[in-house]
């Protein structure tokens, strides 16, 4: 049997495109098998690991995943918690128990803790098959976001914005002196001096636009040095 890969690693493929012929290849995420052919089941970038062919998605809405840290907006106050918009097709519920360790009396006014339109950094604790999402705001780095601004980016570009072990975002933080929090859902919170905030927003937009470029970190470093006029010390 001849196994033949029809595409290269990092190629962009569209739904229905034949990726490989032969039973030697295994279908990964976003692909399916039809007879002896491996076919793309969505638009994405090809990634071949040994014999597994999978697709990395490049567009589309955020899909909630357990343990993801996301930024959400309070859209409703419930009996024992809050309903939170996390920029996906499904809203999340933040239970009172998951929000505070204080004793809250029955029928107390929950808006004292989180009010409508507040932004909160939360972590997804559970997603059911019917896509009911539970989140928690108790944990390291999870808190209410006061002040600053929120921007939305493509959730599939978030890994590039954060960089390896947070290298990209910490570089932007260091250069602009802004506080930046990036949610896995593509919502980014920034707070700092007004002019610096704008620089940070532009930088993040630039990263989003050029996410697939090689040597992006160096490019962004040059860009930041140019606009801020300050040399950035390379981190070990």
């Amino acid at each position: 049997m001849t196994d033949l890969l029809k595409v290269k690693d990092r190629d962009i493929v569209v739904p229905g495109e034949i990726l490989a012929v032969g039973l030697g290849f295994l279908p990964g995420k976003g692909t399916y098998r039809d007879g002896d052919k491996l076919i793309a089941g969505m638009l994405g970038m090809v990634s071949v690991e040994n014999k597994v062919v999978k697709l990395i998605s490049l567009s589309g809405k955020y899909i909630p995943k357990v343990y993801d840290k996301v930024i959400g907006k309070v859209i409703d106050v419930l009996m024992t918690g809050w309903r939170i918009d996390i920029g996906s097709a499904y809203s999340a519920v933040l239970n009172l128990k998951e929000a505070t360790s204080e004793f809250i009396e029955r029928g107390a006014d929950l808006t004292r803790i989180y009010n409508l339109d507040d932004y909160v950094m939360v972590q997804i604790t559970n997603v059911t098959s019917q896509k009911l999402v539970d989140v928690s705001s108790r944990g390291p780095g999870l808190r209410k976001l006061n002040g600053g601004r929120i921007i939305e980016v493509n959730p599939h570009k978030v890994p590039r914005i954060i960089g390896k072990e947070g290298s990209m975002v910490s570089m932007v933080k260091q250069a602009t002196g802004c506080n930046i929090l990036v949610g896995q859902n593509g919502w980014v919170w920034l707070e700092g001096e007004p002019e610096k905030e704008i620089i940070a927003v532009n930088t993040i937009r630039k990263i989003e636009e050029e996410a697939h470029h090689m040597g992006l970190t160096d490019k962004i470093k040059d860009y930041l040095e140019k606009v801020t006029g300050v040399k950035i010390q390379a981190k070990e």
Binding site: I12, G16, S57, A89
Partner: protein, 233 residues
């Protein structure tokens, strides 16, 4: 008088000039433009998102909702009355049913994917242009799809079988037929087949053969448009 040469001088199996672009509407989750001759279709996809009214929700799977709309100034001469009509309702339904077979929305229970198809300029073949644009927009929105959908109208004018009728041919005063066909270009399955007029069995078979050929040409254009948006410089 027999129809011996096409009004616009095209070959019998030649489509009008085609242009396609993906990502034309920044605020939409997926969007595309498909232009064939003087017919222009814009498709915007929103979602998957929350579905209201709630009674439309399906806990098994997400649903697809299509909205087909011809703009008032788009037509030939007569102004099209704005808003929905019986025709646009039917076409919305037809387009929805021709796109659903390739879509997998089971990952999105209770949600909806909205597709808006707007036609700023029309010259026959709007449902086919709409379906073609919508398929690109759905792929752009990152939804799970088994295949793309390409569509074209095959017609008969007098005794000639021809591809992609324009308005003059559609309005031909004599024996004619108009058959819009939508299919999956890779597996060759038909998802839409309608007919207006009369045709023999033999001619219909020939027409479907032609549709298959033209759809694979259109597929190449769709594919290139999609890759153009996401390509790495």
């Amino acid at each position: 008088m027999a129809y011996t040469k096409r009004f616009d001088g095209r070959d019998w199996e030649e489509t009008r000039p085609i242009e396609a672009k993906v990502g034309v509407i920044p605020r939409a989750d997926g969007s595309a433009m498909f232009k064939i001759g003087n017919t222009v279709a814009l498709a915007a996809v929103y979602g998957p998102r929350d579905l209201h009214p709630k009674f439309l929700q399906n806990p098994q799977t997400g649903i697809l909702r299509c909205h087909y709309n011809m703009m008032p100034f788009s037509g030939h001469g007569e102004r099209v009355r704005p808003g929905g009509s019986r025709r646009s309702r039917e076409l919305s339904m037809v387009i929805e049913k021709s796109l659903l077979p390739v879509l997998d929305l089971s990952e999105y229970p209770n949600a909806v994917v909205d597709v808006f198809i707007e036609l700023p300029q029309t010259d026959a073949g709007t449902r086919c242009a709409g379906i073609t644009a919508a398929a690109m927009a759905l792929a752009d929105a990152g939804l799970a799809m088994k295949d793309l959908i390409s569509a074209v109208a095959i017609g008969k004018v007098d005794d000639k079988i021809l591809v992609d009728l324009n308005y003059d041919e559609e309005a031909y005063d004599g024996p004619k037929a108009d058959i819009p066909v939508a299919m999956t270009p890779n597996s060759g399955k038909i998802t839409l087949l309608q007919m207006d007029g009369e045709i023999t069995k033999k001619e219909l078979k020939k027409a479907l053969e032609m549709a298959k050929k033209v759809c694979s040409q259109i597929y190449e254009i769709q594919k290139n448009a999609l890759k153009e948006k996401f390509k790495v410089q």
